[in-house]
Symmetry: C2
């Protein structure tokens, strides 16, 4: 089987096999579960570092800087970043992305861009699976970039063990309005482009908010200043990340977090498969046709199927 061959080569450190496995997994062939199960067993539970924040906050530059710093310490790094061709992916100036591609020739770094396409939680599932492949490949550090808007930034809470929220001084009034959700996400806050006006005030505001917000994780999120383009503040950030990991390793929440992540993962894998089956089943076309023609509304059609379990099971290929 092609997949088994790729897995064996990946285990031997073959980067091309790793890249091809990522593509294979995205195509979701029937053997996906066997492949990913073997990948999950190879994985060592390497901590996943999430980097999130609004577009234009300098996430790419920060990630680039972290990769350089970690490489300097002899660590290997796998990163999942946002495909710059996806709409509003964050306003990364082309240069940052190009710079990040420099790492492509470094065998200790593997970067995978993910677009925002796909349905039924496509992007978070894909991120999860690419991160697992990077873990199985044996990377020492796994970085995951997400654009912090909509659901995505909440999803990262499930995928990343430590989440760094990157903000810029200009977003000053944003912090005022959006504090509730923001505070829940971040384990560490970075005010990037700290040479700009308002950086100190913003950091002070964030610190005050961290103190006011009772963290469910009982961790008091540090607020750091950085200037990623100049490489300033990155050492301190790395220290804070290590600090958070050490803190969490002793906490019962970390265990609960990992347990819940696995539970959610299982449910999402099953729903993704059922969604594909439903979508592709020719036996369901007559129902779709009725709904598409407007002869029946989607809720009535759903109710009809949900009250006819035998028929729905058939459409989901859960009986012969």
């Amino acid at each position: 089987m092609l997949a088994n061959d790729l897995l064996t080569r990946m285990e031997q450190g073959d980067r091309r096999a790793l890249a091809r496995l990522m593509t294979l997994v995205e195509a979701r062939p029937p053997e996906i579960y066997a492949v990913m199960s073997r990948v999950a067993r190879l994985a060592r539970g390497t901590p996943r570092l999430g980097i999130t924040g609004p577009p234009g906050a300098g996430k790419s530059t920060l990630i680039d800087g972290l990769i350089r710093l970690l490489r300097g310490r002899g660590k290997t790094i796998g990163a999942v970043v946002i495909d710059p061709s996806s709409p509003f992916s964050g306003g990364a100036v082309l240069g940052d992305r190009v710079r990040m591609q420099d790492h492509a020739v470094d065998p200790g770094v593997f970067i995978r861009s993910l677009g925002s396409r796909g349905s039924h939680g496509g992007i978070s599932r894909a991120t999860m699976e690419v991160a697992l492949l990077l873990d199985a490949f044996g990377m020492d550090e796994i970085l995951i970039e997400t654009v912090g808007v909509g659901q995505t930034e909440l999803d990262i809470m499930g995928i990343a063990d430590t989440t760094v929220v990157v903000l810029v001084p200009e977003a000053g009034d944003t912090v005022q309005t959006l504090k509730a959700g923001l505070m829940e996400i971040g384990d560490i806050f970075v005010v990037n482009k700290a040479d700009r006006e308002g950086a100190l005030r913003m950091a002070a505001e964030l610190r005050a908010m961290v103190e006011q917000t009772p963290s469910p994780k009982s961790w008091s999120a540090p607020v750091l200043l950085a200037s990623a383009r100049e490489g300033q503040g990155l050492e301190e950030l790395l220290e804070a990340i290590v600090g958070h990991r050490q803190y969490m390793s002793d906490r019962p929440e970390a265990e609960a977090f990992r347990r819940n992540f696995h539970r959610r993962q299982l449910i999402e894998i099953i729903l993704a498969e059922l969604g594909m089956r439903l979508d592709a089943n020719p036996a369901a076309e007559a129902i779709y046709e009725r709904v598409m023609a407007g002869a029946q509304d989607p809720y009535a059609a759903a109710a009809e199927l949900l009250t006819d379990p035998a028929r729905l099971a058939e459409l989901l290929r859960l009986r012969r």
Copy 2:
């Protein structure tokens, strides 16, 4: 039944009943399908206008301006906007939101904020259902705000009949990097805050890109300049919206679009229900426990369930 009573009162124009129905639907009680089916039959297929764009582009101000303009023409408006308490919801300055709340005393306007919580496509499903309720309530115009990042902006393509992409001059280099996905989304582009430097250049760039991109809808998206805070350019925007609607009403794509939307809606309703069943089924806890304890990886557990259709059907409550 409470829901039927609320529906009857909503049909009579009771706004509080409408608000309570929205809350009821969000709680997803078992009668949801019957309720929403009746709502779907009441709905008149009012065109849905989507407003998307990166955080800080001025979406709230633009929506506020459009509502004023439409009210001046005697139209009633329902709007689904992003909950400002959700993280990075778009940097809406508190003032814009407060101003928008002025409409709360206007019986011809109904605004519902949606947070970004919930899983399994929660936000897009919720948006879809609130829009349908506003349609059934009899609003003349339905406005939907989304933050254009990640999946959300693609989802809007399914929910909105006309999508307006709002950008600001500062995002100049964004346009350069992100053109591919951006062009697919917008039926109309608005360069907001047009008094700022670079607005004309950005509009020119966008126009060139629209011309280069062969639209699958064979519609050439207009690029407009606006200054929503000063109320400038809104009349022109409204004209362009009406123009797009008229154009689409004759096109076979519009019909294909609506058909596909209904098909996707049906599949999502069923998957949401199956996800809830799987999550809440005590009979599945033993499997979850095994996965949570790390005794089995999620993919192996998923594979086991998927190859035991009878058991999976049982967990999905598709057999007694």
